[in-house]
Amino acid sequence: MAKRNYSPFGPDAKRAVESGLTAAEWYHSEVPRKVMKELMARSDGPAIRDTVILYGSMILLAGIGIALWPSWWSAPFWLAYGVLYGSASDSRWHECGHGTAFRTPWMNTLVYEIASFMIMRNSATWRWSHARHHSETYIVGRDPEIAVMRPPELAKLFLNFFGILDVIRFFPTLIRNALSGPTAAEKTFVPQSEWGKVQRVAIIHLSIYAATLGLALWLGSILPLMVIGLPRMYGAWHHVMTGLLQHGGLADNVVDHRLNSRTVYMNPISRFIYWNMNYHVEHHMFPMVPYHALPRLHEVIKDDLPPPNRSIAEAFAEMWPAIRRQVVNEDYFIKRDLPPTARPYREDFHQYVPGMMRPAAAE
């Protein structure tokens, strides 16, 4: 197969539209309507509790870090603060962007805007990129949120554990958005009515960074940047670790989330930071189910899904060799076995997709 082209203007994007892949109906497990209504029900309680814990912990940790600064004794507090700033903000951005975390809309909006700033994403642009990610998950050229492009560039993956490439890409785009609105690529998924908002958000974010940098220069200390900006780098590792597991090593150009997404059982701390997005097949199949109901949804449909990985380590042990193999064979992917209770993968969903579902590629 020809090398993948991830450009929204490239041949893969064009082929995905022409083949009908982008308009195909995605597979979903059967859940009785009554059960699904219970699972979709919204409430403010769990997210208010988690948000108070999150922001309370951040204030406490940053306060201790500042008090101990510049002693190395402050380092553990910054490391913990950084994970909450540079990784927990990813899941808050995600859940509040869906509007499912809280029942009350303004709470979703407030946490979404704060989290978007911390994770260095334009809140107006990324709402639309994520909608596309859900419509056309891991369809080459169409999904703007593909974390592991093939053939994978391992050095880039490693650098992003420290947010290096994300931050390097973020600031030029931020300045460009602030000066002239969305880029040409962003305009492919952001409707024109929202272009002004993209620019306004960029101006606000840029102003905060400029003020923080100005304060650092005035104080002659990087301390302000330890609180705002740098934690997106020194605390990024957790969201990159969990983010890679979402789809890494699995199929692309398919319309069954059991083939392109991964559910992983995780420890309670990672689940708090990640807001239960470890139930990722479930989330993609039913994105209107709030994060706090995903474990219950998992119990309902797990017999129709591939067995979940039992830990982060086990999931990496499955994913990492596949990613390495994709370096030399970009058509390779992991096709996981389904339990006998599951409805089989529909090969006819995928047979028209170039290079996909071939046994040779799967094994």
Binding site: M40, P105, R127, H134, E194, F286
Partner: protein, 103 residues
């Protein structure tokens, strides 16, 4: 315009909806918490996903795919990613039946 018998009032739980297909068109019929009935086009204006698997909260219908929301009484788009309003259809209830005026 003809009034078409769509379903029985008891076919839809309060604060819920059902899908109804007629004449090559697909619709969503809603039962509000106050006991009123409403009808809209069945497909979300964002990406043509049917709303019948979505969530009714008060007077809002949330699309099951991208969580966009409409006020199903007026069709007004209330939450991104939906930007275009949903078409609505007049509804009346007679003898326990829900009738929809189909254009």
């Amino acid at each position: 315009m003809p009034w078409i018998d769509a379903c029985a009032t008891e076919d839809i739980d309060a604060e819920d909806l059902i899908r109804w297909d007629h004449g090559g068109q697909t619709f969503a019929i809603y039962h509000s918490p106050e006991g009123e009935f409403f009808a809209t086009a069945g497909l979300c204006t964002h990406e043509q996903v049917h709303l019948c698997d979505g969530l009714v909260m008060g007077h809002l219908i949330e699309c099951p795919k991208h969580n966009g929301q409409f006020d199903y009484r007026t069709g007004e788009a209330k939450r991104a990613p939906v930007c275009v309003n949903l078409r609505t259809f007049p509804v009346r209830v007679e003898g326990g039946r829900v009738l929809v005026e189909v254009a």
